[in-house]
Assembly symmetry: C2
Homo-oligomer: 436 residues x 2
């Protein structure tokens, strides 16, 4: 069979990984798909040391690649939204299939891009946009296609997981570990995207759409970062049998869909709690399969390239498939996406971890538990830490599953009490079980 | 689009699960694939209580279903090899695609069946044959298609994992837990298939073929069961920081391919070591992606049905794909399978756990370590258990990575010594790292 001709823009980490994988596994790939994948045109504003592009046409104008009539597939690996979007639109307009690793672009502009691709009869493949080398998009769209997905929860930002793992294992504080992560190249100079959950929110938005068949809705994802996580709370959580992970959680309920990224307590017996360092993992719950989990490297040159090249293979195979029989971009037929409401965070139903700083006085615990009970909040565990005489003590509460609104109302009332002397910490827990 | 018409033989657990999934998720499935999946013909020798087959043609002669010209896809869920094979051959001959959950059939007769299907231009889908609801076949064939897979290791028999988990957690012995597993329905009256590793060997054989692009070769899989595992060794392993799991392992080396099912020590920090009860998990290592892991229920009515129905969806989508662009049965083009040699178990390179029962005499340890060293076997750890005065003591050795032949030669020599007074236990370890 005729080789598939690929144009690629970008020459960063993932692009270099893609060139390496295609070169290293050239023969094996041909054994798999019965044809060769050839990069015939690269768009890069400048050369990179050590990257051999001999035999490949190179353009300084990236748009030349998007417009090149000789290529079958356009691979976008420049990142960012504006120019990447423009390039992809031109590629689609000229009838090319597209492969991208750009999570921000898919999460924020995917609805329009997919509609455009659909009209033109081409595919946009984006496995590499979520969780690097883990084929979670294929698993949700195809492997688990028999299921109604009820929820998924994932560690989908390696930088954040590295920081929380180091804090817990070594007792180091956030700022200290962040600095190391920056030195190691895990975190950017501006770490906001990673530690404030924006990157995870992009990925969660994509996963939720594919899991539930709903349009992409990035703005509706609730976000809370890990920069304010206190070592103390990692320790108290541990005492209760929990670990704190920065999770992206999507859940379908009778009232709508939850999409939220926040630090979360999960039982130490869960596999997710044992995913350490920069690794990613996503637990998916479907009505037929029950709970499954996928684990692997969520970033990096070669792992992400693994997903880019898998997409290239899929696209090569789908060249002859009629449009109606292709796997739809968001797993469900575009005419049958379900525009359900996204629930405000205050409607979340889960157990809560609460740390109150109170004066060590008689009757304090009684008053607190009474106030919580008045708001329908019952407790699973209470830990009171003995403090220094005359100093405030930490009171750690773990509630049963309750609605966030009720916990916050009760706490607002409790915080008016004179014996509450410091900041109250509230964190959500997830049971990750068959039911909420 | 016209509904896809499915004929199904069998009315056991998985068949009932398949009917349930198709009924429960009918609307959602249509939203996904843009057409309905209709079971139009069922072959079952007798009715089953509580199974509603109204509106479906039912035949007592299963061959009537395989021959039915009205169906697009033939689903084989009767198990066993002889008749199942005959039915599938007839279905293929009459141009039908096939979906099966039959691991023994695929492992033992897959080469011929796939060749026949290829000739007739139809597909045999068999995701449900390995690890129930975990889409591991799709992941290997498609999700990780960019990779050269170097090894995979899996807990692929839930019964065995349940038994080992209970033995470790509760200190119960093998026979005791097996009896409970039979009562719970996890183990058959004749447990040989599960506990002696035959079931796992069927699955491993399939996974290895897909991972490496080699013909199915069930007879070449080395098998060692768990029925002789002693509680004592679970404890000693734990002391060394390891757990014993019944793993299926396939590895590609420069000399050939290893395929082996046996009890294995793995570090307690590995995710695989923390897969408990009846759950399955497969760790896969590829040159681009690094290490990934898939976890989920490896058996059961609905989880296995999840895989059967996912295959039906894939087949429905592939109806219009030309043969050359389909995903090949064994992941690689049938003309490009690589008939490499399967290595004898004695060539295995790994660390070994050895428990010797010896008299507590001066110089014993020195003589043992000297003999091992003479055979090129060096030690990572030694534990000597203090025994009762005059009684033999247990000597636990953990070797560095060495060749099995060398360990066995050394032990044969050591066992000739008069101070060795009991059975020697030898178990393989796996590091599950980037290198052996």
């Amino acid at each position: 069979m005729k080789p598939i001709s690929v144009g690629l823009v970008g020459l960063g980490t993932v692009a270099q990984g893609t060139l390496n994988v295609l070169a290293n596994n050239r023969e094996e790939l041909a054994r798999r798909i019965g044809r060769e994948i050839q990069i015939t045109h690269i768009g890069a504003r400048s050369d990179r040391d050590g990257v051999d592009l001999s035999g490949i046409r190179v353009s300084r104008e990236l748009m030349d690649v998007a417009e090149d009539p000789e290529i079958d597939v356009f691979v976008e690996l420049i990142g960012g939204c504006d120019f990447a979007r423009e390039l992809i639109e031109v590629a689609i307009d000229s009838g090319k299939h597209v492969v991208t690793a750009n999570k921000a672009l898919v999460a924020e502009y995917g609805n329009d891009l997919f509609e455009k691709a659909q009209q033109k009869g081409v595919t946009i493949a984006f496995e590499a946009s979520v969780a690097g080398g883990i084929p979670v998009i294929k698993t949700l769209r195809e492997g688990l296609a028999a299921n109604q997905i009820s929820w998924l929860a994932g560690i989908i930002n390696g930088t954040g997981n590295f920081i929380l793992t180091e804090m817990r294992d070594k007792g180091r504080d956030f700022a200290d570990v962040l600095k190391e992560a920056q030195v190691l190249g895990y975190a950017e100079a501006d770490p906001t995207f990673d530690v404030e959950g924006i990157d995870a929110a992009h990925k969660l938005c994509i996963l939720a759409s594919i899991a539930f068949g709903i349009p992409l809705n990035f703005d509706a994802v609730y976000r809370q970062g890990i920069s304010t996580i206190d070592l103390m709370d990692l320790d108290y959580a541990e005492e209760l049998g929990y670990r704190i992970k920065h999770l992206g959680i999507a859940r379908r309920t009778a009232e709508g869909v939850e999409m939220r990224v926040h630090p979360t307590l999960i039982s130490e017996t869960q596999l997710l709690a044992n995913v350490n360092g920069v690794m990613n993992a996503i637990q998916i719950h479907g009505d037929a399969v029950g709970s499954t989990l996928l684990y692997g490297p969520g970033a990096g040159s070669l792992p992400t390239a693994s997903a880019v090249v898998a997409d290239l293979i899929d696209v090569a195979r789908a060249l002859t498939v009629d449009l109606t029989n292709r796997v739809p971009h968001l797993a469900f037929q575009p005419t049958h996406l379900d525009d359900v409401s996204i629930l405000p965070i205050i409607e979340t139903l889960c157990p809560f971890y609460v740390r109150l700083s109170v004066r060590d006085e008689v009757g304090v615990l009684a008053l607190i538990t009474r106030t919580l009970a008045d708001h329908g909040v019952s407790l699973e565990s209470v830990i009171q830490k003995d403090g220094v005489e005359g100093e405030p003590v930490a009171l750690i509460l773990l509630t049963h599953t309750v609605r966030e609104r009720d916990v916050l109302s009760a706490l607002a009332k409790i915080e008016q009490q004179i014996f509450v002397v410091g900041k109250t910490v509230v964190l959500r827990c997830e049971m990750l079980g068959d039911t909420v």
